[in-house]
Symmetry: C2
Subunit: 163 residues, 2 copies
């Protein structure tokens, strides 16, 4: 695996996301990496991420699939353009839609593995499919439709606050 | 609005959910109430529930729609059976699938209103549609397919721990 995660390349102004921002001290701070054509994220839920006792909260599962999905979308477009993730202009994605099928209860207490695969890149839209596994068993499947953040919005975010 | 929220009727053993459990001190502790045929939940995101600065984290939006949806499913089945939510046997629902369309960025700093409506009750399955609004504008739409927790699982959860 490479040293830096996809999320470590996000510009500071885009790094406050509760799910994946390295600058959000209250957040989940997930990390995603390439593993061949798939991207992988390992996350250890906290003891209070409960659905019913012993099982992982579904909203956390949705959050992991969401943020890992948009991160994969960004990394895939950099890769398709043949440029490293620290080159300009920065590419960031927002979620247009999220779908999660909960196949079986996800046990709490073990690391979760989220794996994603690009289904389609079409203009500014990227479709990402994902699985979430615990103990080697797929517990949830998801799909994220990610859309590239408009350049104008990125420019506004890159300005120092108060400017 | 009635005094007690749907979630206030859940048995203690089912009240540790990160999204809606009144006994999860780290959680969101959402509250849902009937408003005619719709159910409504008002939630004030915390300052760190950020997607990009100024906007609400999509995973939180998914979590609100999810927990409010399963709460609505339970309340609707009690109502369809003509019995109050504190009668036995208790009914609780898990999410089989969750879909969210993010229609526009949701502003951070104002209360969010989630409204849900029952689309279908079929056996142990309930389909719930939902909208999430900020400042009176719908920012996201969702659908939850909720499935009644098996009686056996409820019985196990009702036993004192260690028994």
């Amino acid at each position: 695996m490479p040293e830096k995660a996809f999320q470590d390349y996000y510009p500071d102004s885009m790094s406050f996301c509760y799910g994946c921002g390295r600058l959000n001290e209250h957040g989940l701070q997930i990390k995603s990496y390439w593993d061949g054509d798939e991207a992988v994220c390992i996350f250890q839920p906290r003891p209070y991420h409960i659905a019913i006792p012993g099982f992982v909260y579904g909203g956390l599962i949705a959050s992991l699939i969401d943020c890992h999905g948009t991160g994969t979308a960004a990394a895939a477009v950099y890769r398709s353009e043949g440029r490293p993730m620290d080159t300009f202009p920065p590419l960031r994605f927002l979620t247009a839609s999220l779908h999660v099928d909960y196949l079986k209860p996800t046990p709490l207490g073990v690391p979760l593995e989220v794996r994603s695969l690009i289904k389609e890149i079409k203009g500014r839209k990227v479709v990402v499919s994902a699985t979430l596994s615990a103990n080697g068993e797929v517990c949830a499947r998801g799909e994220v439709i990610a859309v590239q953040v408009p350049d104008r919005m990125l420019e506004n975010l890159s300005k120092p606050s108060g400017s």
